[in-house]
Amino acid sequence: MAHLAKTIRKRMFGGDSAWAYAFIAVALVVFALFTAYPVINAFMISFQDYKPLGSTYIGIDNYINSLNDALFWKSVKNTIVYTVLTVPVSLLLSFAIAILILPLRKWMQTMFKAVYYLPAVASGVALSVVWLWIFDPLQSGIMNQLVGFFGGSNQNWLGTSATSMFSLVFMAWLSSHGTSIIIYLAALLGIDNSYYEAAELDGASFMQKIRFIVLPFLKPTTLFLLVTGIIGSFQVFQNAYLMTGGGPDNATTMVGLLIFNNAFKYFEFGEASAQALVLTLIIAVISFVQFKFLGNDVEY
């Protein structure tokens, strides 16, 4: 029977290739034109001194220049610092909040999910305008008022290298966990109650349940959030661009911003492409390492 069904299926769907190609035609054209072609083109441009009228092939000079450029390494360092300060904290916070939301009634769960997700709905530009004023260097700026309340002194938050990176990190802490909370909560609700029951019969405490049931179950979710979080963080551009412009003294120049500046401020298309490809390599290596070390017993 199964065999018969298979042949029937094959016969019936076999003749539909033309339809299938018609259905994916637009998607393929858009993909070929606006993703595949640009990727290939980026490779070619990265080996050129690109000029709108006639480029010259210069081999791997763009790569060598980038790797010898102190600013490139500084931007990599800034990106790593930003990532290390934001991604793990955001994961921990989201996890703790998801755990706390769990015992509440359904309508309260929905309400808190909505409340925490709301900042993700507002645009980055609008929020950056607001945060600029929260970090206003005047005495009357909200952040300065808050710090003053606890006895701290007035700071030029975005204007000095000592505090500018922290300001961006602080902004990320308070506005970028809505998605992970909802994803964690969905994963938590997916854990079958029988595991907790069995654990309780064995006299497990709350912390033991977290340690031996929740954490192993949430490992794939955590890995997913960690990988996507780091990938996202390495591409960060908008906040640095809108809030500090990379300054002061390049203290907040991230790789994404450096590539943007090289491309659209100095029109060094070749160098920007080379740096973007180096960035791809870094991201690929990081993702690979994470899967290798954290994902060996994760099933999908």
């Binding site: 299926r9 309260m108 997700y117 709301l118 980055g124 609008a126 309780e200 349940k209």
Partner: protein, 286 residues
């Protein structure tokens, strides 16, 4: 029985525990919502220069003057909103149609090269956008010479790989038997798509539409690159130039920020279920 004990021996203890939890969550929610609160509340202040403004958490009087100021200051304020609406609406409609068509083909029709093509799409999702931004800019601006047109704003995101992936995952879960019996009854592929697939995948299409609209409405980078006159800018780009043109007017800036966010807030509160559902698609299995 669950992670938390729901049947505590002392009712008052349970009550207290939940009380503390709600308190902690509310405190954190206040911190999260503060920037949004600050934005909305300050937009009702007088449109005076920042030096004279006091940053209060509760203004002494409410006035809409800053909103009028925002619309009067630039003759393009309405145009920016209109541009954003046009672009976001076009991108959303075309994504829903073409991504679901492609998703149906990839999940339910066998054809040569299906797996290879789909694997290619998946690989593309992992490439950072920094790689494609320069060639894409050269393509649109230098080769096609479409700078400063709606086409340039819309075309690169006509259908995104993420949406194809989303609809493929969803349509895979529709039983193949339904499609087979429709074929036996003499239904053409186009009929199957319109009569069976579309009605059955309304949920995923709603999720797709909402996430795509939000993404498109909020996007800053691409419109910023390919527009060079005020009349073609979207609200996000306009907001930025507004900020730089006139950094000292605090309340009107907040009014502008509020205006750019309000359509999304309204959508969010009316379609909250789909927003929150959409977040978990592709991240959590089952």
């Amino acid at each position: 029985m669950a992670l938390f004990k729901q049947h505590a021996t002392h009712k008052s203890l349970l009550f207290m525990r939940n009380g503390i939890i709600v308190f902690v969550l509310l405190a954190f929610a206040l911190a999260t919502l503060f920037p949004i609160y600050f934005m909305v509340i300050s937009s009702f202040g007088d449109p005076v220069e920042a030096g004279a403004a006091s940053y209060t958490l509760w203004p002494s009087k409410f006035t809409l003057a800053s909103y009028r100021f925002f619309f009067d200051y630039s003759e393009y304020s309405y145009r920016w909103l209109g541009n954003s609406l046009i672009v976001a609406a076009c991108v959303t409609v075309s994504n829903v149609i073409f991504a679901s068509l492609a998703g149906y083909a990839f999940s339910k029709i066998r054809f040569k090269g299906r797996n290879v093509l789909f694997a290619m799409l998946l690989c593309a999702m992992m490439i950072p956008y920094q790689v494609t931004q320069v060639p894409l800019y050269i393509l649109i601006v230098n080769i096609f010479q479409m700078e400063n047109t709606y086409t340039a704003l819309i075309v690169p995101s006509l259908v995104t790989v993420y949406n194809i992936f989303l609809s493929k995952q969803f349509i895979s879960s529709i039983p193949t038997e339904i499609i087979e019996s429709a074929k036996v009854e003499g239904c053409s592929q186009l009929h199957i798509y319109f009569r069976i697939i579309l009605p059955l995948s309304k949920t995923v299409m709603a999720v797709m539409a909402i996430l795509t609209f939000m993404e498109s409405w909020n996007t800053f980078f691409w419109p910023f690159l390919v527009t060079n006159t005020m009349d073609m800018q979207t609200i996000q780009v306009g907001l930025k130039s507004f900020r730089f043109a006139n950094t000292t007017y605090f309340a009107p800036m907040m009014a502008g920020a509020t205006i750019s966010a309000v359509p999304m807030f309204i959508l969010f509160f009316s379609l909250q279920k789909y927003f929150l559902e959409g977040v978990t698609v592709g991240a959590v299995k089952g």
